[in-house]
């Protein structure tokens, strides 16, 4: 993997992390206000879940370069 490609992957990871954290925060606030009497734990839970999804995406993205993908295998 070239350095430029790696840099782009890290940029995507960071952007994805910010997006998912914000989405989790927003959904957490919505659920907290509607169902859980404005408690803090749904906000924390959903934000954490968003961060975890971003971490998982980042991990798959960084590992994908070293995996043999099905399309390439069929071409061979």
């Amino acid at each position: 993997m070239s350095e430029k490609e790696l840099g782009k992957k890290w940029d995507r990871c960071l952007a994805d992390g910010i997006t998912k954290l914000g989405t989790g925060l927003g959904l957490g606030i919505v659920f907290s206000v509607l169902f859980f009497k404005r408690r803090t734990w749904p906000i924390t839970l959903f934000s954490g879940a968003g961060l975890g999804m971003a971490y998982s995406n980042c991990q798959n993205d960084l590992r994908s370069h070293y995996l043999l993908h099905r399309k390439k295998k069929q071409e061979q």
Partner: protein, 113 residues
């Protein structure tokens, strides 16, 4: 009858709002892959200034919008320059130390003479 239905109506409304929020989040790609997330962020970045301008015009605050100062600072370039400086200093360190040591010894010898 109405007293029994009202809590159900409230619950149904809450579920609809929460479900709608989750649907919008999933549909706009916010909870998808990295590429979809960064695309959604780019769309939001592009949509915010015109929306902000429109709201400013609506409230008559057009003249008060502060201009964002352009800061020509790249943390990546600064970091890389710092790393290069550190490594070149470390590689020059033995030579410099021996030079300064010999200069110091020479100075002391001259003093002693």
């Amino acid at each position: 009858m109405a007293a029994r239905i009202w809590p159900l109506v409230k619950l149904a409304t809450k579920v609809t709002i929460a479900g709608g929020a989750v649907y919008v989040a999933c549909d706009s790609g916010l909870l998808g892959s990295s590429e979809q997330g960064s695309e959604a962020l780019e769309k939001a970045k592009a949509a915010v200034p015109p929306a902000l301008e429109e709201w400013m015009k609506y409230f008559g605050l057009e003249a008060q919008r502060p201009t964002m100062p352009r800061i020509e600072f790249s943390p990546v370039n600064s970091w890389n320059a710092g790393v290069r400086w550190t490594i070149s200093s470390l590689s020059d360190a033995p030579t410099r130390v021996s030079e300064y040591t010999s200069q110091g010894l020479q100075y002391i010898k001259d003093l002693v003479k």
